[in-house]
């Protein structure tokens, strides 16, 4: 077990290093102007440009630039161009909202994706399966910004309920429960929109692995014991099919974090995605480097965690 953990940790360190290099290169090595105000702006003197280059170590050779940026990032010296605050703390204050949104979205896609996948596998080849697959692709093909707008317009115009931000402002809630429900509501709508694509792809994965499990001998044994079909499906087959689903979360996260740029922008939700969009609009390079790095590192750590958890639960994993 400890050998497995050490090997897995070493791999994570290597990947983290590659990730930091990639996020550094996207912003530094691309042939655009390094200045947020553009290369040819006549109002910017050479002195200001020189100061800027010095501040972000652009006058140094590349490997040194990389080392400086990573050092600055973690010591809080890497500051946003916009408000001159350390980028790491700007990201950290958005992190709770982002985690809440993505965690809810994962929960929704896992639970409903499982139901849809098992349903499709149970009726494999019949009209229920075909309808289920069709619904899954319907969800995958929905443009996130489009459905967000339709839902937002529908809810605001037809029902007149507020949905933007994390809570309704200007309302005195009679008690904490009502205020909590209001927050939950504001979280749930963007989370559902965000979850649709993942829900569908999870259900497709699960359908495929379930159909393989259902061909195994132990399923025939379970059926011939006279167990109820639900027990056979959810207890015997699902247990042995769930692993791709768990590792699928790791694949889901990058799509979720990327997708939340659009969804958070539309629903005015103060998460990392909206911070990223604002940073793109303001050409806030330090924030962009840090955001890409932190998001990728989060995904990596999520994968590490799920792998370790899985190795603890399932001994077969460690032997591989």
């Amino acid at each position: 077990m400890s050998a497995f953990i050490i090997r897995r940790l070493a791999l994570t360190v290597v990947l983290l290093f590659i990730i930091s290099i990639i996020s550094f290169f996207i912003v530094t090595l691309t042939p655009g102007s390094p200045y947020p105000w553009g290369e040819l702006n006549p109002k910017i003197s050479a002195e200001v440009k020189a100061n800027f280059r010095k501040k972000f170590h652009l006058d140094r050779p590349l490997p040194e630039q990389y080392a400086f940026i990573m050092h600055d990032l973690f010591t809080g010296n890497l500051r946003s161009i916009k408000d001159d605050r350390p980028v790491l703390s700007r990201i950290m204050e958005r992190l709770p909202a982002t985690l809440a949104l993505n965690f809810t979205a994962i929960l929704i896609s896992l639970s409903f994706g499982t139901l849809l996948g098992v349903y499709a596998a149970r009726h494999a080849g019949h009209w229920q399966d075909i309808t289920g697959s069709f619904v899954a692709f319907l969800f995958i093909a929905l443009p996130g910004f489009w459905i967000s707008y339709l839902i937002a317009i529908g809810l605001v115009k037809v029902f007149g309920v507020p949905i933007l931000g994390t809570q309704s402002y200007g309302i005195d809630f009679p008690n904490a429960a009502a205020a909590g429900l209001d927050r939950l509501w504001h979280l749930l709508i963007p989370a559902i929109v965000l979850a649709l694509g993942g829900l569908a792809s999870q259900s497709r994965y699960l359908r495929a692995t379930m159909m393989e499990s259902l061909r195994e001998d132990y399923i025939r044994t379970a059926r011939s014991k006279g167990l109820a079909e639900d027990v056979v499906l959810y207890k015997h087959a699902l247990r042995n099919s769930i692993r791709p689903l768990i590792s699928g979360i790791g694949m889901l996260l990058p799509a979720l974090l990327g997708g939340s740029v659009v969804v958070e922008t539309i629903f005015a939700y103060p998460g990392m995605g909206r911070l990223g969009y604002e940073a793109v609009l303001e050409r806030d390079y330090p924030t962009l480097v840090a955001l890409n790095f932190v998001a990728a590192a989060l995904v990596l750590l999520g994968n590490l965690l799920s792998d370790l958890l899985y190795a603890v639960v399932d001994k077969r994993v460690r032997l591989e």
Binding site: I19, V27, F137, F145, I147, G259, R283, L291, A295
Partner: protein
């Protein structure tokens, strides 16, 4: 002797169907696949027709960039089938031009990602060892990045032009193909015919491209088809955020983006372009899935 004399024609009828023909036959036997292909052909023909007309200097039904402030924000009517936008431009004409952009983005982005993915995956899977380790760990690292945000960052820095957008989408989305191709190569390189090709002293690149790659082409083709709608949706999202192909060139995404402020009055500005994105993507996804089913030898 005479008992072994089977007529060649009878045997041929059973065994002559090539794997490709078999996949095609099973694909075409699926009604969903047929409907998807019809929809894709419809989009391809309208996009191609519009591009051709535009190249000849004609427009149908109107010039997509012709503004007419007397006729702004008109709902769908006989003159303007899908209404007009805030500058009086005909939405149908703009959407037809948007179709060209969407399909171009989908096809070229997939070509770029397929090229990189196949080469990286083939090299990693064929040579193995340290090469494999380095390439695949880079893939693992790249996969961790939030795809859409990575594309948005790169497009914002390089500037949103059609060529930048397709290349960046391609550069970011090849990881899945690389993993798939590597997996296929790992299995196929252990087969007898590859070993005999190696014993015969064939060059590595020849074994890779002439012997192994054709045998891995079915799943690669499936990922390519499934990659097209991914690219279309990504471009639409970029357009919506203002970092897609730039106005006045119409795209499905920027018709919606341009009309953000009028959405409550002018439902046709959001409904039709979004629906086009949705239907086109859906058709590609369903066709890709049907192709996967058809090429799956177990089912």
């Amino acid at each position: 002797m005479s008992t072994l004399a089977i007529t060649p024609g009878a045997l041929g009828a059973v065994t002559q169907e090539t794997p490709g023909a078999r996949i095609l036959r099973r694909f075409w036997g699926n009604p969903i696949a047929r409907i998807s292909v019809v929809i894709i052909l419809f989009f391809a023909l309208t996009a191609g027709g519009t591009a051709l007309l535009g190249a000849l200097g004609h427009h149908w039904p109107y010039d997509p960039n012709l503004t007419n402030l007397d006729q702004k924000l008109l709902p769908p009517s006989l003159q303007h089938w899908l209404g007009t936008d805030n500058l009086g431009r005909d939405v149908l004409s703009r959407m037809l031009n948007g179709a060209t952009i969407s399909l171009t983005v989908g096809l070229i982005a997939v070509a770029v990602s397929l090229g990189i993915g196949v080469i990286v995956g083939a090299i990693a899977g064929y040579f193995g060892g340290l090469t494999d380790q380095i390439l695949m760990r880079s893939v693992d690292a790249l996969i961790c990045f939030p795809t859409f945000f990575l594309i948005l960052t790169a497009v914002a820095i390089l500037g949103p032009s059609l060529i930048n957008i397709v290349v960046i989408i391609g550069l970011v989305s090849w990881t899945g193909t690389a993993r798939l191709v590597r997996g296929e190569f790992l299995t196929i390189r252990e087969t007898e015919f590859v070993k005999s090709a190696r014993v015969l002293g064939q060059k590595d690149w020849k074994i890779i491209f002439r012997h192994i790659l054709p045998n891995a082409s079915a799943p690669i083709f499936v990922t390519a088809v499934l990659g097209i709608p991914d690219a279309i949706l990504t471009e639409a999202g970029l357009s919506f955020l203002g970092f897609g192909v730039q106005p006045p060139q119409a795209t499905w995404g920027n018709i919606i983006a341009d009309s953000k402020t009028y959405l409550l009055e002018a439902w046709w500005l959001i409904l039709f372009p979004g629906f086009a994105i949705f239907i086109a993507s859906l058709a590609f996804y369903l066709a890709g899935d049907a192709l996967r089913e058809a090429s799956n030898s177990r089912s």
